[in-house]
């Protein structure tokens, strides 16, 4: 039964991504990953492969789609170490999409990204391309967070069930209802273990007007621009870190060398602390960064200075490339960049879910990082 579907957007508004865009996105998503979110490299390879096969990846601004359009977010769930060993089958996301459409008996109009930081920036793009759908230019975190209930979509009231979770074997699991977002996360986490530690999860569709109101805007455009800035600065032999700061209202807050590194395991997460010994303008200073999958808290000489949900990014001091928590090692020279998070993550409601207390630091009160405006040269 062939049926022509009326599009809820104008195809002229779509931006088709190029190979260069993907290279930039890989770097940009790594930066916004704030140390976590998984490595986007494999996702990029999958996207390149899909491009070779003729699929196109298209971005659409959230205000260029009809308000009642159905948008579905999707993301990878599981342990990053499993992901580097047990590669994706490639169509897990597409199966999620089709299973969801069957479940709700309605076609999906566009795809949404849950998490622009790390691997989940590119995974949904591949699904969108295979499914012939546009990707909305936004996401639910504006960075990376370790758990599903930490999206702005969930924080501002969207119930992420019914959801569909598909593994590489072809298994599809439907969570028809969770009494809370945390319950959903808990059940999905248990299920992903049964599926071997990695799967794709599609959450209940949202209407485009909700996504427009509560999504972190322009995530893809931003991530690509960040990556481009790093690539361009490197080519021109300019400072890539300054370029990153200029784009995001960020500030280079510390230059240091990793002088101690502790990592352990707590409640299923990779937890740790980095100690930095300063150099250049930071010599005779020390700093600490607390990790729980992502970089959470930055302290200078023992005093808390930047906290989650603001972005704490570690960049290689020479290349400007992002350093993930798995890549940390003694002696590494890093620049710490602090980037203000989006206002949607700073409300009392959001801070309950993604503030310092939510990560086990009830004693720390979040104080918003001011945007840093570059002085004109």
């Amino acid at each position: 039964m062939a049926e022509v579907r009326k599009l809820k957007y104008d195809e002229a508004d779509l931006r088709t991504l190029t190979v260069e865009d993907l290279d930039a996105l890989e770097i940009g998503a790594g930066i916004l990953g704030t140390g976590g979110g998984g490595n986007p490299y494999q996702g990029k390879l999958l996207a390149l492969q899909a491009m070779k096969e003729g699929y196109e990846m298209k971005i659409l601004a959230t205000d260029r789609i009809e308000g009642d359009a159905l948008c579905m977010s999707i993301g990878g769930i599981g342990a990053p170490v499993v992901g580097v060993e047990r590669l994706r089958e490639g169509r897990e996301g597409l199966r999620c999409l089709r299973a969801m459409e069957e479940l709700i008996r309605a076609p999906i109009d566009a795809m949404v990204c849950e998490e622009i930081g790390g691997a989940n920036a590119i995974n949904p793009l591949v699904t969108a391309a295979l499914g012939g759908l546009p990707m909305l230019d936004c996401d639910g975190m504006g960075r990376a967070f370790p758990e599903m209930q930490m999206t702005t979509f969930s924080i501002y009231g969207h119930s992420s069930t019914p959801s569909v979770m598909c593994d590489l074997h072809g298994n599809a699991v439907i969570f028809s209802h969770a009494v809370s977002e945390v319950w959903h996360e808990r059940m999905a986490r248990a299920c992903v273990v049964a599926q071997g530690g990695g799967a794709m999860l599609a959450t209940a569709p949202m209407q485009a007007h909700y996504v427009h109101q509560y999504g972190i805007p322009k995530s893809y455009t931003k991530a690509i621009a960040l990556g481009e800035a790093v690539i361009r600065a490197r080519k021109a032999q300019e400072d890539p870190i300054a370029a990153v700061c200029a784009l995001e209202g960020g500030r280079r807050i510390f230059n240091g060398k990793i002088s101690d590194l502790k990592r352990h395991f707590r409640g299923g997460f990779s937890v740790g602390d980095i100690e930095l010994t300063g150099f250049d303008d930071c010599s005779r200073q020390t700093a600490g960064v607390a990790i729980q999958n992502e970089f959470l808290i930055f302290r200078r000489n023992g005093e808390v200075e930047v906290t989650v949900p603001d972005l704490i990014v570690l960049l290689d001091v020479d290349t400007g490339y992002p350093i993930t928590t798995e890549m940390l090692r003694y002696g590494q020279r890093v620049a710490v960049v602090a980037i203000p998070c989006h206002a949607l993550l700073r409300t009392a409601r959001a801070l309950d879910v993604v503030g310092p207390a939510a990560f086990g630091y009830p004693e720390i009160t979040y104080s918003p990082l001011p945007a840093f405006v570059q002085k004109a040269a």
């Binding site: 492969q49 060993e85 047990r86 089958e89 273990v193 002088s259 990592r263 395991f265 299923g268």
Partner: protein, 512 residues
């Protein structure tokens, strides 16, 4: 115990003969186009110091750049077949999907993806289908390919699929040279598979190289067993090493660092190996080079395996100094230094000329640099010192001052005082530190895999036992084994206390 150490570098071939810890003879000859005549010349020189009444030589250790050069030059590689046992996973990312086109073309692979592999907990992903492997093997045989790389999901954890597949391939192609990914790499399928494929492509070169060394030794009447030096500063019996050429990729700098440890008696220090074109800075920990724990690109291919953590600097004895601005490098006259540097009658100002003008070393014709302004010479030396200090600081792992050992033919370039260094050590025979490092090498064993369902202590103990067994299998004497490194990282989002554990042990060669 008499040993000969030979290190074939891009510029020079160095050799030493040692008895216990005493150096009986050493020589440096230019590396020849065909490599082997240089090796023969060096060998003839040092083996001449074993008198007829003396004990014969016990072992010969050789480090060579043959294999790295082949990958970089995309030459002397053989056609390979890849069998990946991982379907339904990874179908969209076939083997070699991220290789540079020219290297892929040089290897001209046949690629097969079949069902099977394991999960992180050791359970099968899907059953392996032997007929799929057999069918692939027959196609490989019909294409006349004899080198095969086999990879499987989570094979560092459960080797079964790769081992069984190898048996099937061998039953179809009895003379097949088979590389199993779990024997070379770590967790990270694409990177481990890449290492296995590079290794497969170097099989024939490995055999011919070892044969050529063997012939050269016979010509010199040396009948001792011989070993090839490995990336981690240890050695493996030549025949074993020939089947794993990738383990010899970085043996040059590694040998230098080991030699530096031997020459100074220091086990924890930084080492700078100054060559003609570049220098490498590395870090000795417990007498061994610290290993990089991240992706290393080789000839444009992403890999993840045992490689020393080195920081290259564009600074060597042939590095060009701009006579106007005083800028040092990055270009170098390289091996043409003996004709192009000023002190040797050439027209190009190099770092060696600066060193001669400053009186750091006496070589060539000193009169040819006496026109240099002493202030310019001084400024150049300071600039050089800053370059070294900067890179040195990057590789340091603590704020405390540590010793810096300068080795290699251009060691004289390194200033007496370097910021952050407690001392700068220069030693006799620094020029042949690499050959010495080779001669002194021991044997190691490593385990790097995920353990689950065990307590941390149990996992560490199990890993240590496995590493010890691996070292003994490679020729170490069990009594001499010492644990060199223990590292464990908990794995996020998995139950059962799953953790990746890496243990490396080392011991002396077991002589029978």
């Amino acid at each position: 115990m008499k040993r000969i150490g030979i290190d074939v570098g891009g510029t020079n071939t160095d050799a030493v003969l040692i008895d216990g810890e005493t150096i009986l003879s050493s020589i440096k000859v230019p590396t020849t186009q065909d490599v082997m005549s240089g090796v023969k010349a060096a060998l003839a020189h040092v083996s001449g110091f074993v008198g007829p009444s003396d004990r014969a030589i016990d072992a010969v250790m050789i480090g060579t750049t043959h294999f790295t050069n082949a990958v970089v030059e995309r030459a002397r590689l053989e056609r390979v077949a890849a069998i990946r046992i991982a379907l339904p996973t990874g179908g969209s990312l076939p083997p070699m999907c991220d290789w540079p086109d020219d290297l892929r073309a040089a290897v001209d692979p046949m690629i097969f993806m079949v069902h099977g592999g394991h999960e992180y907990d050791g359970s099968p992903l899907v059953p392996m289908i032997p007929d799929e492997i057999r069918e692939a093997a027959m196609k490989i045989r019909d294409a006349g390919i004899t080198s095969v790389a086999i990879s499987a999901t989570f094979s560092p954890l459960t080797t079964e699929c790769e081992v069984v597949a190898a048996e099937i391939v061998r039953s179809v192609i009895p003379n097949a040279k088979i590389t199993l990914s779990h024997t070379l790499g770590r967790i990270g399928l694409l990177e481990r598979e890449n290492v296995a494929l590079l290794n497969a492509a170097l099989q024939s070169l490995g055999k011919t190289t070892v044969q050529a060394f063997s012939d050269a030794l016979r010509e010199a009447d040396v009948t001792a067993p011989f070993y090839l030096t490995q990336n981690d500063g240890t050695v493996a019996l030549a025949d074993v090493a020939a089947s794993n050429p990738v383990h010899s990729f970085a043996s040059g700098p590694t040998n230098s660092m080991r030699g530096a440890a031997f020459l100074t008696g220091l086990t924890d220090a930084m080492v700078i190996d100054v060559g003609g074109t570049t220098s490498d800075i590395g870090c000795l920990v417990g007498g061994f080079p610290r290993e990089a724990n991240n992706i290393v690109h080789i000839g444009g291919v992403r890999t993840l395996f045992r490689m020393p953590d080195l920081l290259p600097i564009a600074l060597g004895g042939g590095t060009i100094v701009d006579p106007e601005t005083g800028k040092i490098g990055p270009r170098s006259v390289g091996y043409r230094i003996l004709t192009e540097a000023r002190v040797f009658g050439g027209k190009t100002l190099t770092t060696s000329d600066i060193a001669v003008a400053a009186g750091l070393i006496d070589m060539g014709d000193r009169d040819r640099v006496k026109d240099l302004d002493p202030a310019f010479v001084q400024a150049s030396l300071e600039r050089l010192g800053t370059m070294v200090a900067d890179s040195f600081d990057r590789m340091k792992t603590s704020a405390d001052d540590v010793s810096l050992i300068a080795v290699g033919g251009g060691a004289f370039l390194i200033p007496e005082r370097i910021t952050g260094a407690s001392e700068v050590l220069r030693v006799e025979n620094a020029g042949v530190a690499n050959a010495l490092g080779a001669a002194m090498a021991q044997v190691s064993g490593e385990v790097d895999r995920v353990f689950s369902g065990l307590s941390r202590d149990e996992a560490l103990a199990k890993a240590e036992t496995e590493a010890q067994d691996a070292a003994v299998a490679s020729g170490a004497s069990r009594q001499s084994l010492k644990t060199l490194e223990v590292e464990d990282i908990p794995i996020a989002y998995l139950p059962g206390g799953a953790r990746r554990v890496r243990v490396r042990v080392i011991g002396d060669i077991a002589f029978v």
